[in-house]
Symmetry: none
Subunit: 413 residues, 2 copies
């Protein structure tokens, strides 16, 4: 099955927003064994949309359209497609009901404009959008599927994950493809490549290994193509095992699991609690940990001690230590960690203090200097790093490194 | 002048990389008054490239092609275009010389493969690439320009900034174009549309208004086309003023400024300090505020009181209040705010407590229920919201709403 993506919106053409939807759709479709042959971005304009659609039909059987829906867009896509597929717009009562609830839940009144979102083509299938007001509209024939979705990324993803993908798996005959993504932290690409070279060299033709790096993390994706799913899954599993054996604790999970989630599982298993004392990371570690559902079972809280007085008053860091060693020092992060354990009564504490930049650097402690301490029931240690000159990158890298140091301690306990 | 962008590369189609080149080109061209009518991403394949090019010529006079150059791509684009424009590949001595220097400077020997980069179509203009080995190739006729560039972003940008743009300014007669982006918070798209309808309806043909929403924020972009820059800038300014008059404090800044930065400026102007007491947002407000360089001048710190004991011990929330009203209540967020002011000695305090989900909801307080308190030198108020069922969205929306409530208080003080 071949697919094309059509994104509608002047904001993409003038570069006000980067088209991340197409990249996400491209990756999801490849995982299903559907080949994306073209991505086309056009203006909010009926002729442009129809021309793109007609051409896409000559090359693909699955055509995904995003954007051009919603009141301020004057629903250009909906009206254009309704005309194209010779359908009337009729008010869909169940959608109208949902919309009313949607606004009620948010304590808002549904405007005339909003109500129009329930007027939908009579001859399309509705793929529900539970995160917004514009629904997915799917026209299916024996030759091709055309699906129109809103451009808001999380709404589009909801429709794809809950509407399109289940339907594709059920109705389209897709090739047997098996993927397994191994999540690693604490090692860079080249180190991993050197460590698992023998496994990689031994991979058969039909199984590929891709390195997919992210700040602080490298994902290793094994992809196999075949005819018998069970046989293929067993093959992939055996290569996964070989990679795990070589990488040890640097592997923290599989299939896009965030490091914070893996840490959460370990804490639950140890019925232990966690807190963070953050200076330069400004709460971003706590915020990463609490993104995970159920984190309240092990995360107690955080003290973001941006000002020194907070380090002193809320974390018992001694003024003398701050005076003698400076806020960005081993002594201070160690006192932050022990102070946090005292005040919050947690089993594990992370403490971070650094120079995020762009200002505040010195000869001795340039921008990017970060001290991180991790303290558990059995041990405490601190380490210094330099993450470079970019403020946002420093914060991200410091957060990821702190989480990795905690992970390392959790697996060794 | 109308333009089209063609990006070549399977890595874009399978979503391994996001096509940021097109967004950058789109923004640069719009600033020049060149309208991008379509962006097309195709595979590394001669037929796909030629088809895209032929169609682009029916719609645009400027066609920018990125990617598909370089040894690993087997120079698919160069060979395809050479054939398309009936040109022979001849070794360009000055380019060859440059390449030799380029590798020498980097202490590397120029391989046969690399030397091939100096074999260029005899009938195109070379737009030099001083950051890489693949040159810009420009074919100009009276009807259209076709420029092929490498896909490496900084190389592409070098060719555009140093080769294409000067040439466009000199040879193409471009219109005068002026943009102004107004940043708003606290209102959704449809509310804004209703409020500024009279202004929008009165806009002349040559001035357009675009709504560009982001979570918690809507950007309003005024774009004008004309002949005299000063006259046009004055016109845009007057419409900006009319919009500001109608939206009042809902306008917090211009040109992509983040709300946290606008808040920072107000706090600096009032020489006031800020702290946050966060439960369900888990530190994400603090982390947003501290992303802004220089935030240490006004941000004191945060107490992330995920567990009730932290609310009690670190924020003096009374156990009775928690018992009687529950952690997600007006009484609790008010006590969190006043406790934070006590402990951190800040002038402004934000306090948030809610049910982020997916679990923890009750009949009375379903998932998405969030109480937010903002407390300043002169006043304190709290408000409840329901942000829906998605955990991550609840956290983002609660954070944005808290920042908006703070902004509202700052502008009224």
């Amino acid at each position: 099955m071949k697919a094309e993506i059509i994104t509608i919106g002047d904001e993409i053409l003038i570069g006000q927003i980067v088209d991340t939807n197409s990249a996400w759709l491209g990756s999801q479709l490849s995982l299903l064994g559907v080949q994306v042959v073209q991505i086309t971005s056009v203006s909010d304009n009926a002729k442009a949309i129809i021309d793109a659609l007609n051409l896409a039909k000559t090359r693909a059987q699955l055509i995904l359209i995003t954007g051009g829906l919603g009141p301020t867009k004057d629903d250009i896509t909906k009206h254009t497609l309704a005309q194209y597929f010779e359908s009337k717009l009729v008010t869909n009562p169940s959608v109208l009901e949902k919309l009313r609830d949607w606004f009620e839940k948010r304590g808002r009144v549904m405007s005339e404009m909003n109500a129009k979102q329930a007027d939908l083509p009579h001859n399309c299938e509705i793929l529900a959008n539970e995160l917004g007001t514009a629904q997915g509209m799917l026209w299916r024939s024996t030759e091709y599927w055309v699906l129109s979705m809103p451009g808001v990324p999380y709404e589009m993803k909801f429709i794809v994950n809950n509407g399109l993908i289940p339907l594709l798996k059920q109705e389209a005959n897709l090739p047997v493809i098996v993927h397994q993504t191994i999540m690693t932290c604490g090692m860079v690409e080249s180190q991993i490549a050197a460590t698992i070279a023998p496994v990689e060299d031994a991979l058969p033709q039909h199984i590929k290994l891709a390195y997919l790096p992210r700040p602080g993390i490298v994902r290793l994706r094994l992809s196999g193509k075949g005819t018998e799913r069970e046989k293929l899954e067993a093959e992939i599993a055996s290569y996964e095992l070989q990679i795990r054996e070589r990488l040890g604790h640097f592997v923290y999970g599989v299939n896009e699991e965030p490091l914070e989630a893996a840490i959460g599982k370990k804490l639950l298993a140890q019925t232990a609690t966690l807190g963070t004392a953050e200076s330069c990371t400004g709460g971003s570690i706590a915020s990463a940990i609490t993104r995970i559902p159920g984190s309240s079972a092990y995360f107690t809280g955080s003290i973001v001690s941006y000002a020194n007085e907070v380090k002193i008053k809320q974390l018992d860091v001694s003024p003398a230590t701050l005076e003698n060693y400076g806020a960005v020092s081993e002594a201070v992060v160690l006192e932050m960690a022990s102070g946090l354990k005292q005040h919050l009564g947690v089993d594990y504490a992370l403490a971070v203090s650094g120079v995020a930049g762009p200002t505040g650097g010195t000869e001795e402690k340039p921008v990017g200097t970060v001290w991180i301490a991790v303290s558990g029931p059995k041990s405490t240690y601190a380490k210094s790093f330099n993450f470079g000159t970019e403020r946002q990158l420093n914060i991200e890298r410091a957060s990821m490194m702190a989480l990795y140091m905690l992970w390392k301690m959790l697996v060794s306990n």
